[in-house]
Symmetry: C3
Subunit: 368 residues, 3 copies
């Protein structure tokens, strides 16, 4: 009962957050046929600003972190970020009628990290008087960025394979057509030449697709920000420019995504229950896997119990901030209603109201 | 004498305000044939940002207000906002050579509210030790937004009627031409069919025009901001993003409007005196009507004397902030030199130097 | 030894500054064939914002300065700003393989002023207990803006002369071609008519080019800002909007300039040593000339010794802030790698580590 009332309070609070408010606002604007528009140049620049900020904050956090001490937990965070996307790829994406790119984008968002969920986790761990390493919060970019990169690369591979398959099918039907013609003609040379070309390319080559993804504007901006955060001292410009505007620019991005979502919300009618199911189970599953890996670090290197809980919270959280702009630009064919809806309406309340108390009790039971 | 010196001090101060400074700067830039330009995408986005901010601040103010207690004064504020535009429509707009859309836009600006005039009013009411309800300042969006919506809708109706009339005249001259031809021809069928079509459409249908106005980018952004301010909790993003940039973005809009104004300032040569007359009388007239309605609320529901004065000040003020971007986007054919010039150069100094002392003395005389 | 270690510490620090970091980031982004792009409308608006801010801050500084008292030093600052550009025009620009527009732009940047070098100078003068006029820092716009205007005008004149010469050569080769034909033809009229036209225009008329430069978007924005800073009271909008975003917008401009620089860095291979030589000598030479002029003011009007040192520091500094956007927009054909590289990598460290101590010791030796 307490959980349910907590859950609904959080759920209603989320609906009033500016992020979701602007998303719904955009949907309403589109639904009433308003002529309101955000110019394309502005939209692209807003995405750039958001991504470079996500990269910069990650880079600064990693640069300021004690890398030697946090080596094992950081490695686990990277593994978790990648693993979560693969879990989504081979569970949610295989459910009936679920579109693969939508599922990969959703898994990417659940692999990415929510700063506000992490902040809630830290507050509660502190209020329980549980010790944790000061660098534990700096684990987030190690999970966040690998998850988003993995999602974009997996989606690119999938889209390329689809195109390859389509091209092959067209080739085959063309060959068959040609073949039919050839029975009546003198020479079968064309079919002989074109057939091996089709089979030789049957396996899509992965590396060019990864390279292509990294050269895309989304990952370029993210990695540029990361590199600048790691290698230069952008704190002054980050604090005075990139950070203060972030939430505002995000709200405008949400408005644009809402305006687009109206046209695509219908796609989710048949599959809404699968997204709800995934968004309910995923935070807990990811959190428990992270808890297990954190426990290994606890036994092996003395990683604190509070740190184990925070690693689980980071894994359980789904990004409401870094994820949407990155996925929007990196996987443009995915339906934002699917991933933002799953994360904001179900995933985040579950992580906050159910996940954090569970991981905390578990740590206290095991560590006591 | 004291009034005149006050008036000219305020007038000179206004000329140095960034708002008017950038407007005049834009006029000079255009006059010397500079190639300076603000890209169109930027301009549209700036207008969007300004309008959504105006809506958000109105929505937040209304949400935080005690609606039951302020019901009657708020209703009077809405009535005043609409009434002021109609007064301008049937006085200023009927003067010789005055263009109707320019007059409606000017009346819209005088119906809208100036935050700085209101702030001056509050300061003076407080310094006189006169009591007023804490929610009195929150009356402003109830007048501001209805005035702007009314002005845009009235202008749309006027423009549609004009087009209708033009089309009819073209139709008629075509018919006459055809008619002349028909005298010489065998059949008069065309004229018989086309004539009733013209007379049936003689009355412009209002509702589609209102709907069309509300779907336009200006009112959409304004109402979206209002809805988000009312129904969600956008305070964080409002304080960190939409509010701080407001005056800066407004200054750039003023620059663009100045660059456009140069080409259109000549239009005002024959009618400048009418705008000056309107801008001198209107603040006092609107203020006294508002004082009268406020007094009814004072007698009926105990609305404070300070509140009555503030309602009069709100009605006397003309918007230097919310109005220009809204009218620029909502009534694009109106000449900004007309409405901004009337409001900034005459209306606001009159409201400040003449209106506030008058309403205050009246309240003290009546209430003492 | 101490100088060298100081120099390299500063040099490494500069490489980590956001300004240079984003420039190098842009170069890397372009080198790896990323599809990252900043929309053109955004880029143009960023340049506008930077230039109007530079103008505003200069205008505000001049308005707040005591013009009568600072008349002679201010006049010297204007002379220095113009002189430095001419020095570069007749030294660096004449070196083998150095492109003239690149050299003029570099000289413009060395004539313009670095706020951070000036701040370092003030700090050191204060820590030595040396007296200086409070308005000494306000001398910077008197050197900064004339230097940038001079550079843009000189570059325009050069480019126009080049075009003129090309046109004449084409004309001449055409005439020769026609002449050859004419030997075989009956009439030589065309050559007779066209020849005087060529020689009459041999001298490029300067004033139209200056007017054209001032009407360009770069100088228009700069001078508009200057006029608004001088004649209106834009402090509120400057502090809330134009100033806070400045470093952030500059970092994005640097990114764009870096993306363009990659393609043009090869141009500098043969001439890099000349730029390094110029960037090493110029700050000291400019500083000593300024010191000499400052000393004249010291003897003639009692200009303080600290003020003399600051005038020398202002002249020795090269702009990392106001210069790049102005020159980028005002001399679009100049290679940003040349002028930003010279200033940031060599000029500024030399001015800070070598110039300031030299001018200070000189003043103490002469004044003691």
């Amino acid at each position: 009962m307490d959980f349910l009332s907590n859950f609904f309070t959080l759920f209603l609070g989320k609906l009033q957050s500016p992020t979701l408010g602007f998303l719904i606002g955009g949907m309403v604007v589109a639904a009433v046929n308003s002529r309101l528009q955000i110019p394309d140049a502005i939209y692209k620049f807003i995405v750039f600003m958001l991504l470079i900020k996500v990269g910069l904050s990650g880079g600064i956090a990693i640069r300021n972190a004690n890398l030697v001490e946090m080596l094992l937990p950081a490695a686990f965070a990277v593994i978790l970020g990648i693993l979560i996307v693969f879990i989504g790829r081979y569970t949610l994406a295989l459910l009936p009628n679920v579109k693969v790119v939508d599922a990969i984008a959703t898994a990417g968002l659940f692999g990415a990290v929510s700063g506000s969920t992490l902040a809630a986790g830290i507050t509660i761990v502190e209020s329980e008087g549980m010790a944790y390493e000061p660098w534990a919060a700096a684990l987030y970019p190690f999970m966040d960025i690998p998850a988003l990169v993995t999602a974009i690369v997996l989606a690119s591979i999938y889209v390329s394979k689809q195109k390859q398959r389509q091209a092959e099918e067209e080739q085959r039907s063309k060959q068959e057509y040609l073949g039919e013609q050839e029975y009546g003609s003198e020479q079968g040379g064309t079919a002989v030449i074109s057939k091996p070309r089709g089979s030789a390319n049957h396996r899509v080559r992965i590396w060019p697709i990864i390279q292509e993804s990294l050269q895309g504007s989304a990952l370029s901006a993210l990695l540029l920000g990361l590199a600048l955060g790691l290698l230069t001292r952008p704190e002054s410009v980050y604090e005075s420019f990139f950070n203060p505007g972030f939430r505002g620019l995000l709200s405008i991005l949400m408005l644009v995504m809402g305006m687009e979502a109206t046209a695509r919300i219908g796609e989710l009618r048949k599959v809404g229950q699968w997204y709800a199911l995934y968004a309910f189970i995923a935070p807990l599953l990811h959190g428990f896997i992270a808890f297990g890996l954190g426990w290994i670090a606890h036994v092996a290197t003395g990683f604190s119990l509070g740190g184990v809980v925070l690693l689980a919270v980071i894994a359980a959280s789904s990004s409401d901030i870094s994820g949407p702009p990155t996925l929007r630009a990196g996987i443009p064919s995915a339906n934002p209603s699917a991933y933002i809806g799953s994360s904001t309406a179900v995933g985040t309340p579950v992580a906050l109201a159910l996940g954090i108390p569970l991981f905390l009790s578990l740590a206290q039971a095991l560590g006591g």
